[in-house]
Structure formats: C-alpha cells, structure tokens
Subunit: 464 residues, 2 copies
C-alpha cells in the first residue's frame, strides 16, 4: 500500500485510540442523522468494514451528499474507541477527500442481498461485495498455501505449455488455436485445411492437462507440480463444469500409489487447516450466509484419517446398500456423485480414497495391476463434492505402456517423447490432479463453480 495509507484490517486489529491515520476505500453504506453520519468503509483487506464517524457540521453538504454506496474516499482521522458492540475502534474523520463518486441511480450494487445469478451478470463488479471479497481472498490464500506446501517439500513449480499439438491425454474435447483466416483458410491439393500454413505449422489446441509434460519434469527433477489453466470444450452447462479452469498436478519420481495417497491426504489437510487458521472471518461469513455446514465439513476432513479401499470392495458396499440408485451399480461402471457421497457421508463418515479401478474406465497411462483387469488409480472422495482428486501410479514399463497405446490406437507421433521416458532411465512414479475450482467449492461451501472463479467461461459465456 501507499506509505501514507493504513489498511482497514490493520486499523481494526491494531489501531489504538489517539492514533492519526489515513484510510482509503469504498463506501459500503452511510447512515446517520443531522448531527453525525456513519460510513462503513471497506478497502478489500478484510470482510469487516471500518466505521468512519463524521461530524456533519464540519463538512460541506455537497461532499456529504456525494458519499454514497460505492463511492471511493480518502479519510484522514483519529482512531477512537467505539461505543458500539460491532467493533473495537472506529475512525473520527478530520478530513475527507472524495476520490470517485458512484451515482446511486446507476450503480448496480445498491442494496444488499443480490442473487448470485445477478452478480454473475456483473462479474466485473462483484469483487466489491462481501461474498466475492471473501471468496477471492480465500482463492488467494489457497493458491499461496499450495505453493507453500509444495515448496516446503522440495517440489519445483513447472510451467507446462498451454498450446499443444497433441491430444493424447484424451481427457476431453479441445479448443482449437489458430491464426488462419476463418473464412477461406488455405487448403491442400485434396481440398482440406492446410494446417502447415497455420502459426505453428500444424493443428494446435488448448491443453486439457499438463500431466504428460509434468512426468517429463519429475523424471529429471524428482518432484514437480503444475498450477495453471486448463481447458475443456465440452458443452456442459452444470454447476460443476467450466470451459477454463485451474489445475494443480503434482508428479513424483519414485512414489508408488501409497506414497501418492499419503501426499494427497497431507495436501488436502494442509490446505483445509490453512484456510481455518488464516481466513477465519471470511469462512465465518460464508458459513453464516451460504452454507451452515461449511465449518463443520472442513473440520470433518481435518479430523479424520481418510479411508482407503479398493474399487471392487466399494462396489460390494454399494450393492448391499439399501438404496435406489439413479445410476445402477455393478463392477465395471464409473462411480457417480451419488455413490461417492454415499460412501463418504453415510457409510464411512470419513473422506475416502478409492483405488484399483477397472482399466476400462481409466486412462492409458495408469499402472496395470497383476490381475490384468484393474489399474493403480486413486480417486479422493469428499463430502458434498464427490471426487476432488484423481490420480494414479503411472505405468513405468515401456512394453506394457506401448501395448496399451497401440491397443487404443493413439498415434505414435503424439506420444513418442512420452514413451521415450520409459526407454531412458524409467522409474516408478505417481501423480494426481486437483481441480482448483473443485477445491474452492469445498473450501467456500459455494454451490456453483461459476462463483469461485473471477471470470467464468462456460458455453455461451465469455464476458469481461
């Protein structure tokens, strides 16, 4: 901040009566009478507002008239003890400078209690609300905690590429990236689009995962993690899907599936504890206003050892459950949210890590088990969210990996370099992916993924 500025958070936490200081921020509300006005001032440093007390006889009517919700002001004043119950201290204004007005007829954030749907339409202004201030501070805290966690363990942050010419990961539909003219692109002799004339000399897309490149890093540097944007061009209009989202993908040489599970559990508990310890105010606000079970759920994750069991065993439990499933259960099916939540919330009453899924429903790079049917996959299942992490031990055997790739018809040109890591100094290794916005749904208790990212991209929506 500016040298002459004190943040509202610092005033509220450490301001002492008699102190003279300067605050700057946005007016959340103004009330009062003919003698005194009370301005609730927020500068984004904390969810709480600073109460600025104004002796109206000292200021011009014109100035006071313009101090409306949304206006930006600078206040020089004295810290005084607050007679109210709401706060320890308040600021007695000595000088007020109006930095920016906000016409009450035009400013959309007048009253409290706007719907989340309405706020999505004005996503460019919603960071000025209590709810989105809290969410964005939590988003920062979780980002920082992720870097801190991995850095403290000797992992390196690896920037994997966003634009890719490979679609081998197969995790979903991709966006094409191009500079060819959209109308009449150059064509080859047989009349097809001539990608050789595109910017990169071939067809390129936005990545769906940094994992394969992450493995290259791990097989050189030991332990790495990615934390970057990822894209899916699926026409999914659900509260759980975004076309552009952020992923964390650690990859670790020498880890087997058990080391992998240990790391995932440790990380999720670290992040949950970090939020509880560093973002108490914001969590309390979200708990009180949006999800009364939020704090309870965070403690639930923190205080239980995660159950670890095989997919086959889980199917047995689900088959014996006295329950009508929307999606019927039998060995071989992919689990749905209703199954995952049943295991966590009703059967075990603990977070669950499921392992050893059928090979058929998992990706080509997962380590094949001896049974010939299952792979060393792991999914971490959470209350309310369902799957929050998906990962596996990776297939490190060249021959097995090559057979799988051939069986699936994945073109060699897309994966020769990935295969090469199994030819040159291969090692057992593992990794997983955490969708950052899924984590944010869990940490904030919000129900719609569009509300935990600043500017959501979904089918038909790319504003601001």
């Amino acid at each position: 901040m500016r040298k002459d500025q004190t943040k509202v958070k610092a005033v509220l936490q450490a301001g002492t009566p008699g102190q003279q200081l300067t605050v700057m921020g946005w007016v959340r509300s103004k009330r009062g009478n003919k003698a005194v006005a009370f301005i609730a001032l927020n500068d984004g440093s904390t969810i709480a507002n600073l109460q600025v007390v104004v002796d109206v006889t000292l200021f011009s009517e014109e100035l006071l008239r313009q101090i409306t919700t949304g206006a930006c002001i600078r206040v020089d004043g004295n810290v005084v003890e607050s007679p109210g119950q709401q706060q320890r201290v308040e600021l007695q204004a000595a000088r007020i400078e109006l930095l920016g007005t906000a016409d009450p007829q035009a400013y959309p954030l007048q009253k409290k209690g706007h719907s989340l749907e309405f706020l999505r339409e004005i996503a460019y202004l919603r960071p000025r609300t209590n709810t989105f201030g809290a969410i964005l501070r939590l988003r920062h805290a979780m980002s920082y905690a992720i870097h801190e966690f991995f850095h403290s363990k000797g992992f390196y942050y690896l920037h994997t590429p966003l634009i890719t010419s490979s679609d081998a990961e197969g995790a979903g539909a991709m966006f094409r990236v191009t500079t060819l003219p959209p109308q009449n692109p150059p064509t080859t002799e047989d009349g097809r689009v001539n990608w050789a004339e595109d910017f990169f000399g071939k067809m390129t897309s936005l990545t769906v995962s940094g994992q394969l490149e992450g493995e290259l890093g791990a097989l050189a540097l030991g332990e790495i993690y990615t934390f970057g944007p990822t894209f899916r061009a699926e026409n999914s209009n659900t509260p759980r899907h975004l076309a552009e989202f952020w992923m964390i993908e650690p990859e670790m040489a020498f880890y087997d599936i058990h080391d992998n599970m240990d790391l995932a559990e440790e990380m999720l508990k670290y992040l949950t504890r970090y939020a509880l310890e560093h973002c108490e105010d914001d969590l309390k606000f979200l708990n009180d206003n949006w999800d009364k079970e939020l704090l309870e759920r965070l403690h639930f994750v923190l205080e239980h050892e995660f159950v670890r069991l095989g997919y086959t065993e889980a199917i047995g439990i689900l088959e014996q459950a006295n329950r009508k499933w929307e999606f019927p259960v039998k060995w071989g099916v992919d689990l749905q949210s209703e199954h995952e939540r049943y295991l966590v919330e009703e059967h075990f009453h603990k977070p669950v890590i499921l392992t050893d899924y059928p090979a058929e429903i998992k990706a080509f790079y997962m380590k094949q088990n001896e049974d010939g049917k299952t792979v060393r996959a792991m999914d971490v299942l959470f209350p309310k969210i369902g799957e929050i992490i998906g990962g596996s031990e990776r297939e490190s055997d060249y021959t097995k990996l090559k057979s799988k790739i051939d069986a699936l018809g994945i073109p060699e040109k897309d994966v020769w370099w990935y295969l090469d890591t199994r030819r040159f100094g291969t090692a057992p290794h593992s990794g997983f992916g955490l969708g950052f916005e899924r984590l944010m749904l869990f940490i904030t208790g919000m129900g719609n993924i569009r509300d935990v990212i600043p500017f959501p991209r979904t089918p038909g929506h790319c504003e601001f």
Copy 2:
C-alpha cells in the same frame, strides 16, 4: 520424497559418515577400474552429483554393465568421508537396484557439451542436463519468490481469464480460440462466419494481458497481482519473443506513479536477492559456463538505486551522446534496446526508470499529463535486457479516458465494463507488467528466451 529416500542435496549438505541411507536418481556418468567404479548420481535436488562408490566385486557384471549414463538406480549404502577434493562425503554402495536402463546407442544425452540448439530439439529430455536443471530450479525459485513478495505485502493473487472476447488491450496479434469446424464453418445470411454458433457464442481469442481485469480486482480488493500465461500471435523469430509466455501484472489502488516505481524497484531487488541467497550453486554454474558477467550484473542491480528520469531528458542525453545509432533518436520515437542499454550501461551505470513518455507511443489507459503530450508511463531498463518492466499510472478520470477511447476508435462493446470502473468509485491507481521470461533471461544470464521456459512455443514450433 518417499519416506525411505534421502535427496542428494541433503546427503551432500548434511550426510554424516556412518549413516545408512537410500538415494534414487539418474546416472550422469560412470568411471573406474577393475576394482572400483564411481557413479555420479543426480536426482534433480541440486546441481551437484553424489559420488557413489562401488566395490565391483560385490555386484554382477550384468548389473554394472547396465549402469550407463541416463539409467535410473536406487542405491542403499553408507555415507563415508570422501578422499577426493570434489565433495565432502560420498556413498559406499551396499545394494544397487536398477530401476530403468538407458541404451547408450539410443540415449541422446551421452556426452557433455551439447549445443543449446540441439537441446531445444530434445526439450523433453533437457531438464536432465546441468544447465536446464539449474534454469528450472531458478524458475521455480523466482516463481515462489514472486508469490512470497506479493503475499507478504497483502496483495491478492487474481486469476484473470485466458480466453477473451475483447481485443481492447491492443498489445499484439491474437490467437483465435474456436470449436467451429475448420472446413465449412456455419455462415450468416451474408456469407460470413457465424460466430454466434461458436462455443462462446462470439469470436474469442487468447489474452495478451490480464491488466484490464486486474484493474477491476484492484478497485475492489486494493492490491492484486496476476501471474499467468499470456499469448502473442506475432511472427517474431527473435531470441526475445515467445508466442506463449508468463506475465506478472500487479495493479494497485491508490498508487501514483512514484509508488509504482518504488514497488517495481523493491520487487526486482527482492527477486535478485532471493536468487543470490537461495540458488548460489545454480547461479555459479551458469556464471562459469554461460555468462561470466552474470553474478556481477545481479549485484549491479542490487547495489544501485535506480535512476529515475523523464523520457524528454533521456532523449536529450541520447542526442548528445557521441554515438551512431542504428535507430535515430528524436523526441517522439520509441526507444530501442541500443538506447536503453546505453543509458543503463554507459551513461548512468545504474538501472534506470524512464517516465512520462509521449502519449502517441503508449497505450490508451495511461494517465494523461497536464502538458497534453505525455503520459504517466514508466519503463524499467536493465543491463543486457533493456526494458524489463513496463507500467504506468492508469487514467482514472472517466471523461479523459472516454475521449481517448473514442479518439482511437475502440468499440464501446469491448470496454464498457472497464469504463464503468471510472464511473463507480474511481480511484487513482497504477500497475505494471513483468514478462517472466525476460526476468529469467536476466536472472540466468541465458541469451535466448527459448532456453528459460520448459517447452517454448514460437512460429512453427509447438513440440511436446
């Protein structure tokens, strides 16, 4: 790392003779005689190798034959004092497990001293070399230091969007993002491509800057920074340009241009000091092998107060310099690298911050000075690199900003939300952009930007 593993860095720093431990890593070289073999083992944790001493009589010939450069092994052994000068301790092998071979006929990283050009062609393997190990560890260190710096000052990390429907920033050519069929896209009645049928219902591109969205964040949360990928579709085949690169863009409410300069100088010194304090080995390696003036240059930046002067004054100095410029100098021209480096390296012998550039050569959002000719821009100029940071105080006055936007013909549909921030609670504010790979060129001393990012994207190149 695995619970039973010790990292090479830890052995070299803290291993004590008599200790039994397990290391895992890749063979950098093997030499020896009929009685004893010496394996140089690296696991990515540090640039130094651990010397593994092998009594060849204890192991099978077949095993020893397969321990070649690039192979991956696990060694259980005892730490012993090293009789050699190169290292304090070494590891006497008791058990060796071969995890992955690397056929000497096929493995491309046999001998030392490959050219950087060759290594670019095998970018998927180059993290296994000393040079790229050092660069990637430094890249991690700088990323972490950036988060640490901003977090410690109360900034929030804001994830601005990558896919955008606006091209208002105007910083460069853009990549189109689409899911329309490339061959015969749907058309409107007048025969043009019908973008309404594209994924987002309009034409979309990859962002060239997160600044405008960053300002939205700053005008709600106070101080924010972005750190994410950015794209330019320019056909620039130079050692300084990438099509995909990472940018750091802080935006701060209430900062004027002087606060902005203070922050930029403090940040660059913080990062430089962090590298010197945390990455001594890697910097020494790069200094000795690639750029003998690297360490000197880092200290140069750390130990000098940055000179601050106006563009107009700088033009005067350049005009009076007894020098033939490739690009002639007069008031109004954009400075070239030769001019920037002259000011830093020959005239002032200090880093330089130039301010108050002609409005004509700078972007629309910069604060207009009273003189009607210049804007409150700032560029930070460094030795060897030239411009490392570009920033400005932002125009916070609605009327002035609107006139400029109209004069430049920027469509209102692209910027109405940006303009709105000047209608609703505007505030003086500033920000800047730091190209992360430019920073990495400075910190590593490397000469080509393709060598400071794991997987470079340039015209015609999108591999791995």
